[in-house]
Symmetry: C2
Subunit: 132 residues, 2 copies
Amino acid sequence: MIQRIHHINFIVRDLVSAIPAWERILDREVTSCDQLEERGVDIARFDLGQTWIVLVQPTRSGTVPAAHLEQHGEGFFLMSLETDSLQDEVGRLGEAMFDGVERGGLDDWQVRDVDVAGMFGVRVQLVESDGS
Amino acid sequence: MIQRIHHINFIVRDLVSAIPAWERILDREVTSCDQLEERGVDIARFDLGQTWIVLVQPTRSGTVPAAHLEQHGEGFFLMSLETDSLQDEVGRLGEAMFDGVERGGLDDWQVRDVDVAGMFGVRVQLVESDGS
């Protein structure tokens, strides 16, 4: 079952510049900064109640986030919807709805990317997580 | 105080095509369809727990949503953050952070648009609402 927006990712060129602007608008300090080496990104996230606001800075070319930055510039990258079972959602929607395979995100997040072609210009992801 | 993501708007060319795709991925029926004549849009929204997923179809040119569609195509349009007091946020952030004046949205939503220039490619809005 799709429960809520788990996180929203925005692509930025430079976390050091973007973090203070987001701290100001959200009226809270950045929660944590991480690296996701296999995805080629540095990440800063803000805890906004039930949803994480996640800033993503590509750190090398040849990755999906870097290609998105190059093609579209800074801004919205993807919306990740929380489910209690990725397996159930794949069963419900069918493998053809997805792009690539299940992969790990931050913490214990396990994600599947929905094929962007069918979602009217929006990159949607499903995520299963026991914790945050 | 910024409390949560109140709604996220995605621009689509044609609600009739987009609604079934979003119903399928979100695993729920569209909650309601509305028109916001002064904004020049037709709107369909989905209740996703604490956040509304809102699809916006521009119905005439010369509006901000129509210009966004023309320039960027379908996809993410804006993220609206709920506050218990728009007035307090404007006091905290300063008028210069905002673009335009307070305006009405759906239901009793009162919104102010943050100047997009300072938010690294993301259109952010603040919203105050007693109800939904």
